[in-house]
């Protein structure tokens, strides 16, 4: 990890959290579908990042978002779960010796790999968020519906953002 990577990631953190807190927090479709675009930051952290550091970053990001959302602990827990799924999925699907891409972005890994990766991670994150927020099983189907619809919305925005940056790089 050189200083350029670190700088880019810090910049990305600020931009994504700013957009999430001041723009997307006010946005939802029929109170059912809310996007959480900030997870993209954790998704595209570099491959070489140590596990402990990854967990600390995920924890900190979640805590920051929680303080803006007044939901202490919910997003923190979800981000930690997301980080764990990320580690599992990457260790199963990527052969690190034969591969030296810096970060798991759409441009580096291809559409198929990235979309599966994103769906899995985002689903786990949203599942934890919505069920911790509701904190009871009596609204199960409603909460699950909200969760799935939000996953679709977030995935759409994540892929959109990735496509924009992907194109810019190849030019």
């Amino acid at each position: 990890m050189n200083s350029k990577t670190i700088f880019i990631n810090i910049f990305r953190w600020f931009v994504l959290l700013f957009v999430q807190v001041f723009l997307l927090r006010n946005l939802s479709f029929y109170d059912l579908s809310t996007p959480f675009i900030y997870v993209l930051f954790i998704l595209v952290l570099p491959f070489g990042i140590p596990n402990l550091l990854l967990f600390i970053i995920a924890f900190g990001t979640g805590l920051t978002l929680d303080s803006f959302y007044d939901t202490l602990g919910v997003h923190t827990t979800a981000c930690v779960a997301l980080a764990f799924v990320r580690i599992l999925f990457i260790s199963v699907s990527v052969n690190r010796d034969a591969f030296d891409e810096p970060e798991p972005s759409l441009g580096n890994m291809g559409f198929k790999w990235f979309s599966i990766y994103a769906i899995l991670c985002i689903f786990v994150h949203h599942f934890v968020v919505f069920f911790l927020e509701a904190f009871k099983l009596s609204e199960f189907s409603y909460t699950l519906g909200r969760c799935v619809l939000s996953v679709i919305f977030t995935l759409f925005v994540v892929l959109l953002v990735e496509f924009i940056f992907h194109n810019r790089k190849s030019n």
Binding site: F22, T71, V80, L132, E133, F135, Y142
Partner: protein, 279 residues
């Protein structure tokens, strides 16, 4: 011992996950139970001032709407003023001076952060303990309708547990026959324009369009209009019925709120502690 160490470091991701996940869950649970001891929310200096700055811009965009509602309120107050001034004084009227005895006083506050899309919605306002606000004071909206209760207080800011929160419960009446019920939000309906009134005994007759008002218990003055009944036939299978109501106030466009200071709150609390609880 060495083998154990190798085992842990090989599967370090899993152990880190357990540790951090547990901390996260503990934070969530703590936040649910001890709301007041938490400072990492929008009464916090940094977070609060960020919202306040952004809100300057947002308020500007909504000026038109706010003007309209203020004008309506002005008109209403003027009408009242005129009717009060034009009392026929040829008759003898006993005027009871209640200025010093007034039980409830209102304090206006600006909303600097609001949400309607989450399961548990919290509102932040720009008044705090310096203005005499304490926890659990009732909050109403300028035109009609209730907003919620004060949750956390810092010197200049405070958060409100809005009606759109799973722990908020407000005691209400049917206006026409004073049947008691409690107003809640949620349980399958998450539209911020609707809420439920529960625990109204089955023998009362209710119609669609009846008005619901606050009952006077639990912080709110008696008779604040909350909403109109939109659906009555919600069967719960026991001797109580559940009504669906349309709220009078729109939480998504809330700009100003009034906090209700109850002069007798302290006195009432002391008295109720002395009296054994028989509810």
């Amino acid at each position: 011992m060495r083998n154990l160490w190798i085992f842990i470091s090989r599967y370090n991701a899993f152990f880190f996950f357990i540790i951090f996940f547990a901390v996260g869950i503990i934070l969530t649970l703590k936040n649910n139970v001890f709301q007041r001891s938490v400072t990492l929310n929008s009464t916090n200096e940094v977070v609060g001032s960020a919202y306040e700055r952004l809100n300057v811009l947002k308020r500007y965009l909504n000026l038109g709407q706010v003007n309209d509602s203020l004008a309506t309120e002005n008109a209403k107050l003027k009408t009242e003023l005129i009717s009060l001034k034009n009392i026929d004084s040829s008759k003898t009227i006993i005027v009871k001076d209640t200025v010093n005895q007034q039980q409830y006083t209102l304090l206006s506050a600006k909303v600097i952060k609001n949400s309607v899309t989450q399961r548990n919605n919290i509102i932040t306002i720009n008044r705090g303990s310096d203005d005499g606000i304490v926890k659990d004071m009732a909050v109403i909206s300028p035109n009609k309708g209730v907003v919620g209760f004060i949750l956390n207080v810092s010197p200049h800011l405070a958060t409100i547990r809005s009606l759109l929160h799973k722990e908020t419960l407000i005691s209400v009446n049917l206006k026409k026959n004073n049947a008691f019920g409690s107003l809640v939000w949620g349980d399958g309906n998450f539209d911020f324009r609707k809420a439920y009134v529960k625990e109204i005994p089955n023998h009362f007759k209710v119609n669609v369009g009846d008005t619901i008002v606050t009952s006077g218990a639990g912080g709110f003055p008696k008779g604040i209009e909350v909403g109109k009944i939109s659906k009555t036939k919600i069967s719960t299978g026991d001797s109580f019925m559940t009504l669906e109501i349309n709220l009078f106030n729109d939480f998504s466009t809330l700009q100003y709120v009034y906090i209700i200071k109850n002069r007798l709150a302290e006195e009432q609390k002391v008295l109720e502690i002395q009296t054994p609880n028989e509810q």
